[in-house]
Structures are given as structure tokens and as C-alpha cells.
């Protein structure tokens, strides 16, 4: 229920808000949550740490 709070710098927040409005989200929070869910969905379904690391590399999160 309580979750965590994130802080975004003003410039990033402004960019997020612009795209959230254009995409039809009701709020910045909804947009950010959806982005994170979609990114995580690409990682899920893996059985092993190695598989996850491969996916993280493939998505460009680690080298």
C-alpha cells in the first residue's frame, strides 16, 4: 500500500509529463508505473540469473 517514493529532477519530470499527456495517461505516476511494468515484463519469465543477465544485457541495462 505505501510503496516507495521516487525523486525526479525537474527536467526529467517535465519530459515525462509531456509524454504522459500526449500518450493519454491520467497522470505522470501512471505513465511511469506503466513504463516500469513494461520494462520489467521483458525480463520476467526467465528461470536463472544467467538468463536474466542476458536479457539485461540485451536491453542495454548492463554491459
Amino acid at each position: 500500500m505505501w510503496g516507495s517514493r521516487l525523486k525526479l529532477d525537474k527536467e526529467l519530470l517535465a519530459r515525462v509529463k509531456r509524454y504522459a499527456d500526449l500518450a493519454g495517461y491520467s497522470s505522470v505516476e501512471e505513465f511511469i508505473t506503466h513504463i516500469i511494468e513494461k520494462e520489467l515484463a521483458q525480463l520476467e519469465g526467465s528461470d536463472s540469473e544467467d538468463d536474466i543477465k542476458k536479457k539485461l544485457k540485451g536491453l542495454g541495462y548492463i554491459s
Partner: protein, 521 residues
Amino acid sequence: MKIGKYRIPLQKPELRLLRRSKPFWTILGEHRIWSTVLRVPITFPPDRFYGAELSAMCVPDLLGTQGTFLLFTTRPENTAFQEGGLRVGVTVRDDRIVTSLQGPENTLLDGNPPLTLPMRLHLDRAAGRIRAELGDSTLTLPVGELSGWVTLGFAAMPGVTVKGLTRLLVTEMGDHFSLYVAPINLDPESPAMPISHPSYYASYLAKKVGPFATLGLAEDTWALNEGVTNDATFLQQTYDIDRERLDTGSLVCVFDGTDRIQHMFWRDIETGHPAGRGRDAAPHRHAIRELYAHNDALVGRVRAQMRDGDVLMVISDHGFTSFRRGVNLNQWLLREGYLTLKPGADGHGEWLRDVDWSQTKAYVLGLTGLFLNLRGREAQGVVGPGADAAALKAELMEKLRELRDEEKGATGINEAFDTAVIYTGPYMDNAPDLVIGYNAGYRVSWDCAKGTVAGPVFEDNTKAWSGDHCVDPRLVPGVFFCNRPVDPQEPALVDIAPTALRLFGIEPPPHMDGKPIAGLA
């Protein structure tokens, strides 16, 4: 206890109600009869009894007085107000005033200095209004217009803010400038003192109906006595406070009976329904007619409670039609070569367990959706996204258009809808690829909805659940009744939310797909 410059109290201050005897609601409570007592005089601090109470007379303002208004003015006056107000001299420079609002004493500091809130006023003489900045609140106020409630937050120490509510009125902006600030009421949503029983009741009411006056004598008679406000302002304050007694806002209530009863008793209103056999003498065979009579009476009772200006909308999100025949599209997909079973499987497994995904291009799960086994989306997808998927969708749509139930000589499916065409928005990825428009009398079969493949493509539905709406939406529109005339059009469900917002003067946000119903809002 001292921590640095702060004195932290180790116990709460004591408040005692000096009223004697026992009010009747306490006695009722002793007999486990609940009472709700709102703004009855001499109920501060609130009684503790079996019931709920909102305190009234004797509740102080945030300064601890019975109502001290403030007058920020450029008029030079040396005499104090006689009845209860404070005059604060201000100076206008370049049509700006920089001053502060004095709040309660800060008992957490030595010497109890007053808490203050910076206030900046920007005078727009040409437009006849000011912009007032009080702490975090900003408002634009035309001269002569009493503002709504403004929330003030006085920071007492890190993590401790004392909250209050006030209203503002610019009484003059000519050669002289004067701003009336109403006594700072305790904020009911976060009262600095106990003003209700249970303690959270005031907060609950504030969240439910919005901010309201908490001061014992909330109508500012002293400001009128002193000539700071006039009759019109006093009357407005008084009637506004009265209106706070009444609920304003919106009420949304869903009555599910119209859905449930029509699902279960459609068999009794349709001659020849396979689920209606032997029910000619069933005791509740008139359940649907009785349901509508019942709900009609409810609408009548609601209308009797309505005041001038209230808007009543009676809507449904869908209509109803018969569910006589179930359609197993998984079986149809198997027969058409779009779905393959695992070797040795007979197709009776639920949840698509018997499906060989390496050979399957499409499947059905749930009440209306057909999904492509899409590479990159489904775990074992075989259909290429893009052109391949589009071509397969077009092929399926063509084959499903007017799909015939040869046994009954009827059309089972009117058409299938491409969700890439009918849906928009950021969550389209969650939709099926095709939505099936079943004809009246037809719906996905019970087995198919759970991912079973075996069985006939068309079969009778003999369950009590004999009416449905998960069909071609053009066949089951919802209803829209309203106590106000609306322009002739077909309101859509997505129009209800924007309409509700516009009725309260709020512009619907851009993410809403609908539009306010013309003539209504």
C-alpha cells in the same frame, strides 16, 4: 522536554467540557441507540457516547479566540476594533503588498512567539482583482468577492504543521486597499484540537463534503458590527455555512440486480429457450418484470429527495439479449487448421492445456477475445508481428463474418472487430487481437471461455445463466435517462465522467476519451 530550541510537551493539554447534566443522545447511547449530533451548541470538547458528534459553539479559532478576523489595510487608524478583530497596517509599493498572517502562538518555542505565514498580494487594478500568495496557496480574487475556503499551514517545527481555514475578501482597492481575512477556523481535516467524536469524524466529514466551518460561531457577526464587512457578505457567509450542512458533490451507486437477474431469468421471458423448459409454473418466472418495477420505484424515491439543480442520470453500461447457443471457437479454429492439439490430447483440458503452441496460430480465452499466438508476445508465439499478424487477422475476420449455425439456420457471429482499429490508448497491448461480435442468442460457450477445445462448435445453453451481453455491442446498448433534457444524440459511456466533471465546473482532463453531453454540461 527540551530538544535544542524546541520544548516538546510530554502530555496533551487538558480540555474540559463544563456543561452539566447529560444530553439525551448520551442516554440514547446507553441504550445502544446511535445518534449523530452535528453542530449542536456547547459540544466542545465533544461528548463521548455511542454515536458521532461534530462540535459547535465554543470551538475556538486557530488563535484560540471565539473568532478574530483580520483586516489588512492601508487606512491609517489608531483605534482597535471593539468587538474582535485585528487591524494590520500595510503599504502598497508598485501594486504589491508584502506582509504576513499571524497565527497561533508556537508553544514549542521559548516565549511562545506567534506562528506566521508570509503573504504577498499583487494588485491588478485594471482587472479589478488581486493575486494572493499565502504560504503554499495562491488564489485570484476579484474585488468584492468572498473567496472559498483557503487552507493555511503554519510550520511549528520540522514535521509539525498547524492547519487552518480562512476566507478572504478585498473590500476596497482604490485610494486605499483593504483585505478582510475571516477568522482562521481549525481545519476539520486536520484539527489542532478535538472537535469531533470519534476523533476522526471531522476528518471523515471533511474528506466527504469538503472543507467546512468549525468555529463555534462561524458567521462573522463581529466583522459586520465593526463595519469591516457588510450585510451581503455576512448573509453570504451564513448561507454558505448552512449549505455546508447539505451534501454537495456527486453520488454514484451501482445496482447490480438488473445485471444478475437478467442473466439468470432471461430463460423465462423467451419462448423456446433451452434453459426455460419446464418452467411455465416456476414461482419467479416474472423476476425481470418485477425487477424493473422495483428499480423504477427506487428512481421515484431518489427523485423525491432531489433539490433544484440536482442532476440525476440513470444509466446502464450495456443492455441484454438471449444466450441460447454457446459457440466454441477453439473447436472452430481446430477444424479450420489454426489450432493444433498436442499428440494424444483430446481437447478436453481446460485453460488451453491440450494446445500444441508450436503449431497454433490463434486461440480463444475468456468471453469475447481471440488472440493470435504472436511471436514476441506469447511465450511460444509462431505468428510474426506486423504484416503476418495483420494478414492472419484479416483472414480470420473474413471467415468469422456471418458465421452460420447450420443446425439452427441462423447467424452465430455477425463479425469480428480488429482491436487495433476500435481501441486506442496506452494499454492496447492488453487487448485481444479480435473481439467477437456474437449475434443475438449466441455467446462464447462455457467450455471455450475456459480454454477447452473439445465439443461441438455450436450447442444449446441449458444453464440458468440464460441471458447475456458479451455479444455484438450494437445489439445491447445501455440506457441513459436524465432529469434534464439533453440534445438529441447517443451519449456514450465514456461521456459520463467528463459530464460529471463539467457539471461541477471542472474541465475534463485531456486523457479522457469522452466529451461532456451537450445540453447537460
